[in-house]
Symmetry: C2
Subunit: 217 residues, 2 copies
């Protein structure tokens, strides 16, 4: 995953993924302009394997995070990032299993599919428990993210996960023991989005007491 | 704030705010392309007024959220949103006081300035307590967001806040009582980003016990 090389930054004229639009409106009679992007709503799933009391997360190289943490070199009018000076693990993040809402089959079923694709667990739909929803962005994007909780067992693990190879996904499944979950939340050695931190706080508030070694927390 | 009208969606050719770029790289020898945007790192501040045991938040109309929750009407080749059918409060969010890191004065000082500009509290720098950091995005953006905690008193309130009028900011300061904080986190009547939900979970985990009526929680 972390074998990254030949990193170039080039102009992005027509993107399939980033489609800016401009919203013109009046607020309290005053004309305003706001540039935004249309993005899909999404689902994220906090997975807990109760056979071995571990959280199941995904780990991947995120170009936008690498970009944000790297020094961009400008040479002869072109821009690039030297992997020798900016170690690729700068772009590696730990995240909840996740997916976008790009089909009309219900968010719970999308969550179920992502748990299978990314983490290899075949989970009954009734094990995909809705937790809450919130805005995944409020500035350039404003889509809804729906958080689910999935309790799984080793018996449900029927595949290796790792994402859809044809889509170029390269995802590692990682396990964090229950007893390390709380310190993981704020451990700055693991780059992560805040949704994962919220999900874990929710778990320790609501769910932890149901699992056998929760009294050690 | 919620007097919104004449909402049009137009193409966004050259944006000052959304600047896509394309990153070309090799991962495990395979060529990959990722479209991303460069965005500033940011600060967010959970403000607690201990004189009256209330959280101090900001409330604003967010065009991208409104867009995400509205039906876009296409007529004669132009796109618009009918405010009569899509009430503007769809775009109103509750958020932590926040700002972008666009100057080199230290994040704590930027946080201090935002607390003054948006909420009207003049807070000593030593009251701006670092909590943690995380990625504000992992897909199209990957910037760092730094969370702070600021304990304030009524005596520190020297202005009305509301943002910088010249920049078109129109922000309401809202107070949520400590005793309502926990139910506020998952109350779907208040549209909010997950960073605010994490910050409140952190408060109830770490800080609440220090305040007088925490035993009622």
């Amino acid at each position: 995953m972390e074998d990254i090389s030949d990193v170039k930054i080039v102009p992005c004229e027509k993107s399939r993924f980033i489609k800016p639009l401009r919203m013109l409106f009046k607020q309290n009679g005053r004309e305003k302009i706001w540039d935004a992007m249309e993005v899909h709503d999404s689902v994220v799933i906090l997975i807990f394997n109760k056979t071995r009391n571990v959280f199941v997360f995904v780990k991947q190289f995120r170009p936008a995070v690498y970009l944000s943490r790297s020094k961009i070199t400008e040479e002869n009018g072109s821009r690039h990032i030297k992997a020798s000076e900016n170690p690729p693990n700068l772009g590696v993040t730990y995240e909840l299993c996740a997916g976008i809402v790009d089909k009309d089959i219900g968010n719970q079923r999308i969550a179920q599919e992502e748990v299978m694709e990314e983490c290899g667990y075949e989970v009954p739909l009734e094990n995909i428990e809705p937790v809450t929803s919130y805005r995944s962005g409020v500035g350039a994007t404003g889509a809804l993210q729906n958080l689910y909780y999935a309790e799984v067992t080793d018996k449900m693990r029927v595949g290796t996960g790792g994402g859809v190879a044809e889509e170029g996904e390269l995802i590692d499944v990682v396990e964090i023991p229950l007893c390390d979950g709380k310190s993981f939340i704020t451990d700055q050695n693991y780059s992560k989005p805040v949704a994962m931190m919220y999900a874990l706080m929710w778990f320790f508030d609501v769910k932890a007491k149901h699992y056998t070694n929760s009294n050690k927390l």
